[in-house]
Symmetry: C2
Subunit: 196 residues, 2 copies
């Protein structure tokens, strides 16, 4: 009986994060998540492979947003302009509606070393995909890898600021400001080296 | 009967890498490794927790070499000079004698997705430790994280060149050249942005 449930995915996400916060990630079962959301286990499994995917299911969408923005930037775009376009594209993922989810998700991951490892790996893979997208535009390997790391740092810095409780500014201007800060640091490192 | 076996660790590493290359990583057992090395399983377990540690046991030594070089650099050292010192310190790990091991290790990891994931995570953790060592010297968070990524990229670029079959140049000059290349790219990204 696979009937359509309105907002099933969002309801499951909300239920899962509430339960992770209340009882811990390990102690939460898929049955409990489905129950809390007022849905069946089979509805859960139509949306997520397992409970971990509630936290990491956005990876593909994020990678797709980054890489297609880089791939479709005008041929004349500089590497930095490609990174700007990629960060701008992430707005589709980090909408104001996702703010609460992002905050809760971060708290769950911070409390669990296996999930922290998964997050580290997710970011490393995203960086590899960005470097590949830049190489596909003709950037040399070292430039592509460095620019990808700069983009990832701008992304994680901006994400931390955007997810701050009380922040109401949308993601793109925060991300552009972070990218400019990273560029300034890159210029300083590239010159004489900043005092440490 | 815990008697001392000369060069046990190196013999076990050589045996393990030969077997991984011959039969694959998954099909190789600790018993086979010990047997090939002419040692017992209990000798193996005095040196390694499991067969994966033959490939990743160097992580702590590498982290220690990087972070203590940064921690003991003169107070006047710039961030880039700290990275230089860290890359220089890695010479204790990448000696000419380790060249063959490094090449074989790389081939085993490249053939196995779970090991690639482990390697990605190892590098991400090493980067976090380097950033922490730079913050401990007073670098601001964004500079520390960017410099750590620049250091990691210089390290992996240099490692790939050093490990090339036929290379006889020692690690430090290769690493310094890679760091200079990264600095040039950083300067370009920090300026107008390089065309991609």
């Amino acid at each position: 009986m696979a009937r359509w449930e309105p907002n099933a995915r969002e309801r499951l996400e909300r239920a899962a994060l509430a339960l992770f916060a209340e009882n811990g990630y390990d102690a939460t079962t898929v049955a409990q998540i489905a129950d809390r959301a007022g849905l069946t286990k089979s509805t859960f499994f139509r949306h997520f492979a397992d409970k971990r995917e509630v936290l990491f299911g956005g990876q593909e969408r994020l990678t797709e947003a980054f890489t297609s923005a880089i791939g479709t930037a005008p041929p004349s775009a500089t590497t930095t302009e490609c990174l700007s376009a990629a960060l701008e594209a992430v707005e589709v993922v980090f909408t104001p509606q996702r703010h609460e989810f992002a905050l809760q998700r971060r708290a769950v991951i911070a409390a669990h070393s296996e999930l922290q490892e998964r997050e580290l790996l997710k970011m490393a893979r995203l960086g590899l995909a960005v470097a590949e997208a830049l190489r596909a535009r003709g950037a040399d390997d070292i430039t592509a890898r460095l620019a990808a790391e700069v983009g990832m740092l701008a992304f994680s810095t901006a994400f931390a600021r955007w997810a701050e409780p009380g922040n109401e500014e949308p993601f793109p201007p925060i991300a552009h400001a972070a990218l400019r800060e990273l560029q300034d640091r890159a210029a300083a490192l590239g010159a004489a080296g900043t005092p440490a």
